[in-house]
């Protein structure tokens, strides 16, 4: 059967949505792959929206806003960039990073709107249908995605991303400006750690496990698993279930 890509687009009301309307008024023809959710600003798009869309089997997700510097809300789209970058970094390791896209289309760029959708549709076609159209066959991927979903809803990365412009431009609480590349490093470390913790948590939600069992499941050395367990216990997310012989078993605390 012919692959008909289905793409979800988040369009900001002021530029991209207007650009999409203009494409219509100008009778620009583009593939019928796009389904649009209108938001007021591209900065409104929460990473979890994109993740839930992918989880549901959408073949691609595109976030569209005003060109940088032209945001109706002054600089909302800069936040969209920061959120998108984080999201792509989280999705790249599980092979879904290429299915999301961030584009700027102004209210006067009807032609460009058509081009962007056509091009992205072709790109998605070249990737083929999302593996998550077949959920049963891709449980592993679903679990990985769920781990990421928890991370983007959690305090740490949300705070880090929302504070990016402040700490790279104005300075942190100690009035120290962190250079962009150091920030990226910081974010990367935080992302890696949070994804692992999220996976540990999800595994411990199913039932109690020892560090050894966890390290086998996650393909990680025991030392780092233990380190994360300690953090998760401090955060009140994981508790000691029992000790068998000399081996402690941990379990997730349901919130």
């Amino acid at each position: 059967m012919e692959f008909k890509p289905k793409i979800l687009g988040f369009l900001c009301n002021w530029c991209s949505y207007a650009g999409a309307d203009l494409a219509g008024v100008s009778r620009i023809q583009y593939p019928p792959s796009l389904r649009v959710i209108r938001v007021m600003c591209s900065g409104r798009v929460e990473p979890i929206f994109v993740i839930r869309a992918l989880e549901n089997g959408l073949d691609g997700v595109i976030v569209m806003g005003c060109h940088l510097g032209d945001c109706h809300y002054i600089d909302g789209n800069y936040e969209a960039v920061n959120k998108f970058k984080m999201l792509q970094k989280l999705l790249n390791p599980i092979g879904l990073g290429d299915r999301i896209r961030l584009e700027w289309v102004s209210a006067s760029e009807g032609v460009r709107f058509g081009q962007v959708i056509t091009e992205f549709t072709e790109h998605i076609k070249s990737l083929g249908p999302s593996p998550l159209r077949e959920k049963e066959a891709n449980q592993q991927l679903l679990e990985e995605l769920e781990a990421i979903a928890r991370v983007v809803e959690d305090f740490r990365l949300r705070a880090l991303v929302a504070r990016k412009r402040k700490i790279t431009e104005e300075g942190n609480v100690y009035e120290k400006i962190i250079p962009e590349e150091n920030y990226e490093e910081l974010l990367e470390d935080a992302m890696n750690a949070e994804v692992i913790r999220s996976k540990i948590y999800l595994n411990l939600q199913i039932g109690p496990l020892s560090v050894k069992e966890l390290s086998k499941r996650l393909n990680l050395d025991s030392a780092s698993v233990l380190k994360h367990i300690v953090t998760l216990r401090q955060q009140g997310k994981v508790a000691l279930d029992r000790i068998e012989g000399l081996t402690p078993y941990y379990i997730a605390i349901k919130v």
Binding site: R35, V36, R38, Y73, F155
Partner: protein, 554 residues
């Protein structure tokens, strides 16, 4: 969400053949009927026509609808119309949802009718899913205080105050010095008319005598609280404090002339600034035959990269005046570039040249050198250093932002650019506004500018401010951000991110949205680490519901 049963009505528009010629509207209507909570669906030739709107009202009445979906053109053009129809029929306008099946479907897939119909079905299914989660919202009214606060009593501030007062708005005019007039008090004559500066200062009396203006001299702003239409201002004069309310604020604090310490042997006697020359010319005590002026002193450098805009004309004006006073005077203007845009100023420049004043271009790499009775400078045309006799050297220094403009910026929560001047909301589209509603800018506090531009901008700022002050109330958009205080931890991220300073801290340290200022962009909600902020009308529930049903039917 109310416990009332959700009853959705779907109206599919043919828009003549615009939609109906591509999409199978009857099939779409039939499909809508199968969706959850849809109790009524109908297709119309033109839903936006009188007859179409009547059908919506009839549907609402007969089927007791409490959610209305119209699938037609674009919310950008027709949402207000359908919302109003809902309201007339007793359904809260925020219970209305628009599905765009024309501009973003039938018109862009004209050759693929089946696929377009399929897409339209998806869009309607998404709309129905969202409609279930829609909430009724109210548009509240907020009172507006008709008074204005003008900060700065120079020509900019006085112009704003007088203009607003003449329109009938009470004005509080604050000046930090002990008299009104600002820099104009120190000027001799103004370009290009060569009128006495005192002539322009006549406005001072009008300001002081105006029944709608209260003038506070030797006064500083201590505190500003509140938001558009409702500011609480605290001012201090000596040890005394006073509080009052205003509805709009105009910044007209001006700028000061750079004191060129350490530049070109500046000593205030034989090497002086243009401002000091103004005083000498005013008192008619000039005693110099050979005068050299050095342009761009301390301007257009790494430290101060901007052009102050007015110094060329100031130098030309003073050169002409000296020549008038003493026709035998030898005046040389050392410049980097001459900036005299417009018909009047360019003519003034040509006239100055015609009066025998010499112009010599210097390079910033080889700046002039001031010595006992002459100035040495490289003549770039002959590539040779020349000595110009000088009894008096006049330095044209730029206007610089007041050191303490930072404090005012913090009090009013408005931005400044790198040189300390206030930064408008948009350089072209909103030149006297700030992103924060209710605060406006004019004059040299914004950027060095001459009196003409200052007055124009002041009139603009007064006009912009009156668009707020002229209303008794302000309507608050229903679709705004709302903080769940149970979840908020007071981290302040939202307050920092909000482009409109719409989020304030409560006494408990938590975030609170001033709904009248909020524009509903949703940035705070999408960024709140604790997910404590709901973006009304674009809630996570509403958006996730659309995502959830997207792949049904695949």
């Amino acid at each position: 969400m109310s416990n009332k049963e959700v009853r959705i009505g779907v109206f599919v528009c043919h828009c003549g053949t615009n939609i109906g010629g591509v999409i199978d509207c009857p099939a779409l209507t039939e499909y809508a009927r199968t969706l959850p909570h849809v109790v009524f669906a109908q297709d119309n030739l033109y839903t936006c026509s009188e007859a179409g709107l009547a059908q919506i009202k009839k549907g609402i009445e007969e089927y007791n609808l409490n959610r209305v979906i119209v699938a037609s053109c674009s919310p950008r053009t027709h949402e207000p119309l359908f919302r109003a129809t809902c309201q007339e029929a007793g359904v809260n306008p925020y219970y209305f949802h628009f599905v765009n099946i024309r501009d973003q479907c039938s018109w862009v897939h004209m050759n693929e009718p089946e696929k377009a119909t399929e897409k339209a079905k998806d869009l309607i299914r998404m709309g129905v899913a969202r409609a279930f989660y829609l909430q009724a919202l109210e548009k509240n009214q907020v009172d507006i205080d008709p008074r204005a606060l003008v900060i700065g009593g120079g020509i900019a501030g006085m112009t704003v105050a007088l203009n607003l007062a003449n329109r009938g708005f009470p004005v509080k005019l604050i000046e930090r010095k002990d008299r009104l007039g600002g820099l104009l008090n120190d000027l001799n004559k103004v370009f290009p008319t060569l009128d006495d500066a005192t002539k322009l200062l006549e406005i001072k009396d009008q300001v002081l005598e105006h029944k709608n203006i209260t003038v506070f001299t030797s006064t500083m702003i201590k505190d500003v609280e509140g938001y558009v239409g409702n500011y609480n201002i605290t001012i201090t004069k000596g040890d005394e404090e006073e509080q009052f309310k205003v509805g709009a604020i105009i910044i007209a604090t001006g700028a000061e002339v750079l004191e060129p310490e350490g530049l070109f042997g500046y000593d205030g006697k034989k090497v002086i600034t243009q401002l000091q020359l103004e005083k000498i010319l005013k008192e008619k005590t000039l005693d110099a035959k050979n005068v050299v002026m050095i342009q761009c002193t301390g301007a257009r450098t790494d430290e101060r990269p901007y052009c102050s805009g007015i110094c060329c004309m100031v130098a030309l004006k003073n050169a002409q005046l000296i020549k008038e006073l003493n026709p035998d005077a030898q005046i040389t203007i050392l410049y980097r570039d001459i900036l005299t845009p417009g018909t009047e100023y360019e003519k003034f420049y040509r006239d100055t040249r015609a009066k025998g004043i010499l112009f010599l271009k210097y390079s910033p790499d080889r700046p002039p050198y001031v010595e006992e009775d002459h100035v040495r400078v490289l003549n770039q045309f002959i590539q040779k250093e020349v000595q110009i006799p000088a009894d008096l050297v006049v330095l044209s220094t730029p206007l610089v932002a007041y050191e303490d403009s930072k404090n005012l910026a913090q009090l009013l929560k408005v931005p400044r650019e790198a040189n300390g001047f206030f930064l408008e909301a948009h350089v072209k589209l909103r030149p006297v506004d700030f992103a924060t509603d209710g605060v406006f800018i004019c004059g040299c506090a914004h950027w060095p500018k001459d009196i003409n531009d200052t007055i124009s901008q002041a009139l603009g700022a007064a006009s912009r401010a009156s668009t707020i002050l002229a209303h008794r109330t302000l309507e608050v958009e229903g679709a705004v951000a709302r903080v769940n205080e149970e979840l908020c931890v007071g981290c302040g991220i939202c307050m920092k991110l909000c482009p409109y300073d719409a989020i304030a801290r409560t006494e408990d340290g938590l975030a609170h949205v001033r709904e009248v200022v909020c524009k509903g962009c949703g940035l705070c909600g999408a960024s709140c680490p604790e997910q404590a902020i709901t973006i009304l009308h674009f809630t996570n529930d509403q958006i996730l519901a659309q995502i959830k049903v997207l792949m049904e039917g695949e």
